[in-house]
């Protein structure tokens, strides 16, 4: 599944729409960015409520290709700018991390 397909399938709001289209290789859910750095893998989508520009920095280091902000948290302008520079998609959802993770897991074929 491509990143762009997430928007319709998960009903996401696109906050930063300039990304490099690629195949999504899975997902990772965490609100502790040091944990994301340690465990997230290249090409995954990150589901989190940490909406600030350091999330983009960590996503860049971990190779995360899309960030989904849960619970409709406001996304600050400096985060959007940082993500645009890095070509990382930023989406937002009303749903919480649990629900988003469950839906994404199912979409990706139950992990395998």
């Amino acid at each position: 599944m491509k990143i762009g397909e997430l928007v319709e399938k998960l009903g996401l709001e696109t906050v930063q729409g300039e990304w490099k289209e690629q195949e999504l290789k899975g997902g990772y859910t965490s609100d502790l960015l040091s944990d994301v750095m340690g465990h997230a893998a290249q090409g995954q989508a990150l589901i989190t409520i940490q909406a600030h520009k350091n999330t983009v920095a960590v996503a860049t280091l971990a190779g995360i290709s899309a960030i989904i902000i849960a619970n409709n948290r406001p996304v600050p302008e400096d985060m959007i700018e940082a993500a645009r520079e890095e070509g990382i998609a930023v989406f937002r959802s009303r749903e919480n991390q649990f629900t988003l993770s469950g839906r994404l897991y199912a979409l990706l074929g139950g992990g395998g």
Binding site: L32, S34, M37, Q50
Partner: protein
């Protein structure tokens, strides 16, 4: 200009500061940690400078100013802010009003979650004589909806020092929350071990006790030199002039500080 010449022996680091101490206003701080008791303990521990830094509030600053005047210690007024990233940052100021102003900004940015004293502890502020003046209703351990960058900006505007707390700890620190130390204009980084377990680059390092009970005051501290001050007449701290906030700030800028951390 410093009074020592280039190449000469640097001035001795004779002054001691502990600028991270919790009072009875922090729900985790003991009720016995009144501003007066903290000032008394700071003096007994041989500190020249001490700061009360409660979680997200500075309401004990006025009492601490009065208490330190009585003990002959230089007070610093601070807050241990919890940012949106859930990173603890020390915001330190010269004047109570500066700390109280930041406290108002933080209070407005705290979520409407109320403290339950039975579960979390009391959040009371007191006068010099340890009479309770009031109680903070919002739970002070919550994260304020203020980012690290916004906080740095507020602190700069109020002439304060911006010092991320215990950056080498596994919780509520830059390293635990973000996984790295982003490049920002830090006044210093607070560490709990030397050498710290995380890469602090070229940042100036300080140590403070983070005391929550009276015996902890001064347990970790930072020595600094103040070359502009005439030295006291006795070695170490003497009856000479006391260092002020500006002396500490300059010492950080010029790297004239030495954190002291006892072995466990």
């Amino acid at each position: 200009m410093p009074f020592w010449a280039a190449g000469a022996e640097p001035p001795p680091m004779r002054y001691a500061a502990d600028l991270h101490i919790h009072s009875c206003l922090s729900p985790c701080g003991e009720l016995s940690m009144s501003p007066r008791e903290i000032a008394r303990r700071a003096r007994a521990a041989g500190l020249d400078m001490a700061a009360v830094t409660d979680h997200n509030s500075a309401l004990n600053a006025p009492a601490f100013a009065a208490a330190c005047a009585g003990e002959g210690i230089t007070p610093v007024f601070g807050i241990e802010v919890t940012t949106r990233e859930e990173v603890h940052v020390l915001a330190l100021f010269e004047k109570p009003d500066e700390a109280l102003e930041l406290g108002r900004i933080i209070y407005a940015a705290l979520p409407p979650i109320m403290n339950d004293p039975e579960k979390f502890g009391d959040q009371v502020y007191v006068d010099l004589d340890e009479n309770i003046i009031g109680e903070v209703d919002k739970f002070l351990v919550s994260a304020a909806d203020i980012s690290l960058d916004e906080l740095a900006e507020y602190i700069r505007g109020l002439n304060g020092l911006f010092i991320p707390a215990h950056v080498d700890r596994p919780s509520f620190s830059l390293s635990s929350q973000l996984g790295f130390i982003p490049p920002m204009a830090y006044s210093a980084l607070e560490v709990t071990a030397i050498p710290p377990s995380v890469d602090t680059g070229a940042c100036v390092l300080v140590a403070n006790s983070d005391a929550h009970h009276p015996d902890g005051v001064g347990r970790r501290r930072t020595f600094f030199s103040a070359p502009d001050l005439a030295p006291g007449t006795t070695p170490g701290r003497g009856p000479g002039p006391r260092p002020g906030f500006a002396d500490y700030r300059r010492a950080l800028l010029e790297g004239r500080v030495k954190p002291e951390i006892p072995r466990r």
